[in-house]
């Protein structure tokens, strides 16, 4: 499961819906893996305003990964400054180092095994082979 997904998943339990502490879910005993993927600059530009940056930083810290900068990059930060020598001005803009870092964190860094824990109710969602189990027993729905 990509860290991107973790930035959007919430606890599924009804009584947690209104509680701010049900997001983000906190990884526990997590085993990470890097799954390489093509960088999709247009997607990063699209998703950037929807990220919850502070919560992403929390999760990244909890996973023991290098701390993210305190403020979220801007869309402009994702595009490498075009070199004046480049003749192909019509071609698609190139990703900046910031975009590559973001791609690494959001898209390529995945939780393979472990648990996701709700900060409100303490419910643990197991993750196996990257697949989280969100099936709830009927009384919690």
């Amino acid at each position: 499961m990509k860290l991107l997904t973790l930035n959007f998943l919430t606890c599924a339990i009804k009584t947690c819906k209104s509680s701010p502490s049900s997001f983000p879910l906190h990884p526990r005993d997590a085993e990470l893996e890097i799954v390489e993927a093509d960088l999709n600059l247009k997607f990063l530009e699209n998703i950037l305003p929807r990220l919850m940056w502070d919560e992403l930083r929390v999760v990244v810290d909890e996973l023991g990964l290098p701390t993210l900068p305190p403020t979220i990059p801007t869309r402009a930060d994702l595009v490498a400054p075009s070199s004046p020598t480049s003749s192909s001005s019509s071609s698609d803009p190139a990703p900046s180092q910031t975009a590559r870092d973001l791609h690494r964190i959001l898209i390529e860094t995945c939780v393979r095994e472990g648990k996701l824990v709700c900060g409100n109710c303490g419910h643990e969602y197991a993750v196996k082979e990257g697949v989280a189990n969100f099936l709830l027993p009927a009384h919690l729905v």
């Binding site: 997904t5 998943l9 247009k42 997607f43 929807r50 969100f134 709830l136 009927a138």
Partner: protein, 280 residues
């Protein structure tokens, strides 16, 4: 032939052998692929988006979502997240190393994402299963409502969802559509090859607001919307022609009344008040 939905709950029906049989059948691959392309056409995505796939199964649609625009996926490649109630289906998806994230969940329990997560959602041949709830403690209506409420909240303003499904009968088609409308969606039904053995039903849903045109009739011509028009008719009408029941002026007036009552009504467009083929 009996409907699988009437035989077993989905997680038991889609066991290891059925999931494999399903995914490796070239006939099924072709049908699911065609329907996914049709749904993408209706979603009308212009650039790489975050998409939810409800009842994603073994990822037959997901593989198309991950393809690029040049490969025939409008606006692609997209990033998708899929969930399914069958761990066997998800197991086949894992074997295929699909690019989307997968999780095990029951659509009838809701959609566990924060508000405004997705640009779009797709669901192919899955949501009719929500109408079979005999094994659970809840009613189909309760499960449909939880699903559509969750889906509505998880989509961003101006977002769209397209759910192709196999209604058992007209009643089921109405029950599903009504649940979507009740959750707040602008909704329309589209039928391809109606009346034939290969008839396909698509529920097209829009979330108002945002930069997208939330009007379903802007998506497809010949599609019926969901403004609840008064079905009683043939009352001798002495009013001015433009106020006659069913006329465009009448519909607009009715919509304003409904809106004042807090009901969700579809935006008025050039199709408002025109005869259309499909109704629910």
């Amino acid at each position: 032939m009996s409907r699988p939905e009437d035989t077993l709950p989905p997680d038991l029906f889609y066991n290891d052998s059925e999931s494999r049989k399903y995914t490796t059948s070239s006939r099924i691959q072709k049908i699911q692929s065609d329907m996914t392309h049709r749904a993408l056409e209706l979603l009308d995505l212009k650039s790489p988006s975050l998409i939810l796939d409800v009842g994603c199964g073994s990822g037959l649609s997901g593989e198309i979502l991950s393809a690029s625009d040049e490969e025939g996926t409008p606006g692609g490649p997209h990033i998708w997240i899929g969930f399914d109630i069958s761990s066997s289906m998800l197991g086949v998806a894992l074997e295929k190393e699909v690019e989307g994230d997968l999780f095990l969940a029951d659509a009838g329990q809701g959609v566990p994402f924060r508000a405004g997560t997705f640009d779009a959602a797709i669901s192919i041949s899955a949501i009719q299963w929500l109408c079979n709830a005999e094994s659970s403690e809840e009613s189909p209506a309760g499960r449909l409502s939880r699903f559509f409420n969750g889906l509505y909240a998880s989509l961003r303003r101006g977002g769209r969802a397209v759910c192709q499904f196999y209604p058992k009968n007209d009643e089921q088609k109405k029950m599903i559509s009504a649940a979507a409308v009740k959750a707040g969606f602008g909704a329309g039904l589209l039928e391809d090859d109606p009346g034939t053995k290969s008839a396909k039903t698509y529920l097209v849903l829009t979330v108002g607001g945002g930069e997208l045109d939330g009007d379903i009739t802007g998506v497809v011509k010949g599609m019926e919307g969901v403004d609840v028009l008064d079905q009683r008719r043939k009352v001798k009408d002495r009013r001015r022609p433009e106020d006659r029941k069913g006329s465009k002026a009448w519909i607009i007036k009715k919509k304003e009344q409904m809106e004042r009552k807090g009901k969700v009504v579809k935006a008025t467009s050039k199709y408002t008040g025109r005869k259309r083929r499909i109704a629910f």
